[in-house]
C-alpha cells in the first residue's frame, strides 16, 4: 500500500519557509491574520465553482443539516471587514468539487487578503511585491496587460466589442472542440484565454479589466475606450494562473443581483442553485469599507518556487493519498 507523502520532505521544508515568508510580509505591513470557518451553511454561487457538500448531524438527531466546505474564505472575510477588522489576510484551506489535475487538487491552500482603500493598481503592485519576495532567486519583469490588450496582441480581436460570431469563429479556428452553438460568449472567451492566450503571455503578467460579464465579486467601471469592464485582475507567471483579485463590490443590491444571475447561469448549466449568503448581503448593507482583495494559490506559488510541474509534489498528501 503506498503510504508515503506525495511531496519530498525538502519540498515540505520549502513550503514551511514560504508560509513563514508570507506571514512576515503581512506582519511588516500591519495586516491582521484571521481564521474563518472551513465549513459553512452557505456555499459559493459562482457558476463555475462547485462547493463540496457535507452533512452536520447534531448529537441526538438523525437528520443532518447540509453545509459546505468553503471554496474560498471570501464571504466570511468580508463580514469581518464590515465589522471593522481593518486590513486582513488568511492562509485558508479551500475545497472545490471536481477539480483535479496537474495544477488542481480538490483541497488546496488559498492566501487571501484585503486592503482597505487600495484600488486595483495598488493591490496589483502589492501582489507583485509578495511574489518577488518568495521567488527571490529570479528578477521578475512584470507586465500589466488589459484583457483587451491580451486578446489584441495574441489573437488580433477585441474581446469587448467583437460580435459573438467573430469570437466563436476565432475559437473554432484555434481549438478542436465540439460545442453547442448556443454556448455563452464567456465560454468561448474562456476557451481562447486558456488555450491560446495563457501560453503566449509574458513570463510574469497581470491581466486586468475583464469583460463585465466576468465580474464575479468585482465592481465594474468604464475603460479608456468607453467599454464597461470588471475591475478584476488575474496574475500569470510562466503561464500558471496564480491569483485573482477584485476592487471589491460594496453595493448590497448589486450583490443580490449577482447572486440571482449566478443562479440563473447555474440552472442553465443544469447545476443546483445555491442559496444567497444573506449574512454577506446584510454585512454589505451595514457597510463594507472601500477595499480591494485577492486570493492566491499557495501551491501554485510553491510550484513556481520549486520548479515542480505537478501540484501533488508540493503538498504532503494529494487527494489520492488523503
Amino acid at each position: 500500500m503506498p503510504w508515503q507523502p506525495s511531496a519530498d520532505i525538502h519540498l515540505l521544508k520549502q513550503r514551511a519557509k514560504v508560509i513563514n515568508q508570507i506571514r512576515a510580509f503581512f506582519d511588516a505591513r500591519d495586516v491582521l491574520e484571521v481564521d474563518t470557518p472551513v465549513m459553512s451553511h452557505y456555499g459559493v454561487s459562482d457558476p463555475h465553482i462547485d462547493s463540496i457538500p457535507v452533512s452536520f448531524t447534531p448529537d441526538g438527531t438523525s437528520i443532518g443539516s447540509s453545509m459546505y466546505l468553503m471554496s474560498s474564505p471570501e464571504y466570511a472575510m468580508k463580514r469581518l471587514l464590515a465589522a471593522g477588522s481593518g486590513c486582513i489576510y488568511q492562509i485558508a484551506k479551500a475545497f472545490r468539487n471536481g477539480e483535479a489535475g496537474r495544477r488542481h487538487n480538490p483541497e488546496f491552500t488559498l492566501l487571501e487578503w484585503y486592503r482597505l482603500d487600495f484600488n486595483l493598481e495598488q493591490l496589483m503592485q502589492e501582489v507583485a511585491c509578495l511574489i518577488d519576495t518568495v521567488l527571490i532567486d529570479e528578477v521578475i519583469e512584470w507586465h500589466f496587460w488589459s484583457y483587451r490588450k491580451a486578446f489584441e496582441e495574441v489573437l488580433s480581436i477585441d474581446p469587448l466589442t467583437a460580435s459573438d460570431d467573430a469570437i466563436k469563429a476565432k475559437a473554432l479556428a484555434h481549438v478542436d472542440i465540439q460545442m453547442d452553438d448556443c454556448s455563452p460568449r464567456d465560454t468561448w472567451l474562456d476557451l481562447l484565454m486558456s488555450h491560446c492566450i495563457e501560453p503566449q503571455l509574458p513570463a510574469a503578467c497581470f491581466i486586468f479589466d475583464y469583460p463585465s460579464s466576468q465580474a464575479a465579486l468585482a465592481r465594474t467601471g468604464i475603460d479608456e475606450r468607453g467599454n464597461k469592464v470588471a475591475r478584476r485582475f488575474e496574475v500569470y507567471v510562466n503561464s500558471i494562473e496564480l491569483a485573482n483579485g477584485y476592487h471589491e463590490l460594496t453595493d448590497a443590491q448589486e450583490q443580490e443581483q449577482r447572486f440571482a444571475s449566478d443562479n440563473a447561469a447555474r440552472s442553465a448549466m443544469g447545476k443546483v442553485s445555491m442559496a444567497a449568503e444573506v449574512r454577506l448581503i446584510a454585512a454589505l448593507q451595514a457597510g463594507l469599507p472601500e477595499c480591494s482583495g485577492v486570493a492566491l494559490g499557495v501551491e501554485r506559488l510553491l510550484m513556481l518556487a520549486s520548479g515542480e510541474k505537478n501540484i501533488a509534489r508540493v503538498m504532503a498528501f494529494n487527494h489520492h493519498l488523503a
Binding site: 463555475h48 471536481g98 483535479a100 484565454m193 486558456s194 488555450h195
Partner: protein
C-alpha cells in the same frame, strides 16, 4: 462499447473519434479559477498516426474503442499481407495490410516479437521493439584500421532499410538498430 466521461480520461485510454480509433497520449484538466473547465487531450489517431490536441467540455463523454495491443511474432509476407502470430500459446494468426504495418516494415524480422494493435479484431498498427538485430545485406567493403575515425557510410539491411554505419562494418554482419530513430547502435 462503453462510454468514457471526461473525468475518466487518462493517458492510454482508447476511444472512437470521428469514426477512427484514437489513443490518449496526455490528458490535462484546464480550468481558469473563475471560468469554464475543459479537458485537453493530446490524441493520437491509431490508424493514421496523426497526433493533435482535442479539447472536451467537462462532463462530455466519448465512446470507447475496442482496441487491444498484443504481442505477436512476425511470420512471413505473401506480398499483400504481413502475417503475425499471437505469442500467448494460441497460435492464432493475423494478417496486417501495408497501411497497418506502416514504417515498421523496415524493421520486420521473422521470429521477432512486435506489438500489434487490433481494432475490432483486425490489425491497424504494428510497433517494432525499440531495438532489433538486423543483417547487413549490402555495403561498401570495410576499411581496416579505420575504427577510430568516426566516418560513416550507408548500409542496406536485410529488411531493405538503409542506415548509416561506421566504415569498419562488413556485409553479412549483424547490427543492433534503434527502431525509434532508425540509427545504428552497435554490432549485435
Amino acid at each position: 462499447m462503453a462510454n468514457y466521461s471526461s473525468n475518466e480520461f487518462k493517458s492510454g485510454l482508447k476511444v472512437m473519434l470521428e469514426g477512427d480509433p484514437c489513443s490518449m497520449v496526455d490528458v490535462e484538466f484546464v480550468k481558469p479559477g473563475k471560468g469554464q473547465a475543459f479537458t485537453r487531450v493530446r490524441m493520437k489517431n491509431l490508424k493514421t498516426g496523426r497526433v493533435w490536441d482535442r479539447t472536451f467540455k467537462s462532463g462530455e463523454s466519448i465512446e470507447a474503442a475496442d482496441v487491444m495491443d498484443l504481442n505477436m511474432e512476425y511470420l512471413y509476407t505473401d506480398g499483400e499481407f504481413w502475417h503475425f502470430m499471437l505469442t500467448d500459446g494460441t497460435f492464432e494468426q493475423y494478417g496486417a495490410d501495408a497501411s497497418a504495418v506502416g514504417d515498421s516494415i523496415k524493421w520486420l524480422k521473422e521470429q521477432e516479437v512486435y506489438v500489434v494493435t487490433l481494432w475490432n479484431d483486425a490489425p491497424i498498427a504494428v510497433l517494432a521493439p525499440n531495438f532489433v538485430d538486423l543483417e547487413v545485406a549490402e555495403t561498401d567493403p570495410g576499411l581496416k584500421g579505420d575504427t577510430a575515425q568516426g566516418g560513416s557510410k550507408p548500409a542496406i539491411l536485410a529488411t531493405g532499410a538503409t542506415v548509416r554505419v561506421p566504415l569498419f562494418i562488413e556485409q553479412g554482419e549483424l547490427l543492433k538498430i534503434d527502431t525509434r530513430s532508425g540509427e545504428y547502435v552497435s554490432r549485435a
